[in-house]
Point group: C2
Chain length 134, copies 2
């Protein structure tokens, strides 16, 4: 069921400083910041040969990463996103196996314009998992 790792998302308190350290210290390609107000984040992509890392900074009052940053003020790895071919099929299989899908189970359109779902970290060893249909 799981396909590629689409991205690893890191929540950061200061996107500009984070982008700069990936660019100048780690010598990585980092895209220009993109505000995604409907997702409550501003994002840059660290482009790597086989996948990407997304650096996320909260945007607006109801950012989905605000609570995480309140708990981890320096930032930290927030979630990992796996690609699936059929998100409804994946959801149904997961629910049948007893895994909790966040929200009402209806895929939402994610930051890449594709349907996504999040799985409860308590069912996956404290790891927030995003599934994205590609």
């Amino acid at each position: 069921m799981l396909g590629r790792v689409n991205h690893v998302a890191i929540a950061v308190p200061d996107l500009s400083a984070a982008a700069d350290s990936y660019r100048s210290m780690l010598g990585a390609d980092v895209t220009a910041p993109q505000a995604l107000p409907e997702h409550g984040v501003t994002v840059v992509f660290v482009t790597l040969p086989n996948t990407k890392v997304e650096l996320l900074e909260p945007l607006g009052d109801a950012s989905p990463i605000a609570a995480f940053l309140a708990k981890n003020p320096a930032g930290g790895i927030h979630h990992i996103c796996y690609e699936v071919a059929d998100i409804i099929g994946a959801r149904d299989r997961l629910k049948q196996a007893g895994a909790r899908v966040l929200g009402d189970g209806t895929p939402k359109i994610g930051a890449h314009g594709k349907p996504v779902l999040f799985l409860h970290p308590k069912d996956f060893q404290g790891t927030l998992i995003e599934l994205e249909e590609v």
Copy 2:
């Protein structure tokens, strides 16, 4: 400087349960457990098309993931490992840029038999970064 994401490592309190949830709930290929006493972990690899996820369970009294699991008893994403072509060159560039390399700065032979270094999470937004020479 940064190459492929070699792996994402997740610390787990119960490797057998974790392997089972990746296998049965997420439909992923998971290898048999491998004890690495010299690294203080038992590991399984979740094999994905573009990279791998490593699930790590503490092994022995001085496991490097014991403190993390004491703080995060359910488990969680522990580090991300990037490939570099020249680990000494990478280390020198990072030190010159003001980043802290853990330990004495001498690469150690990691769990894959390759030279590795870890970078201080405080210099990278709370993210523990491993560099592996490939």
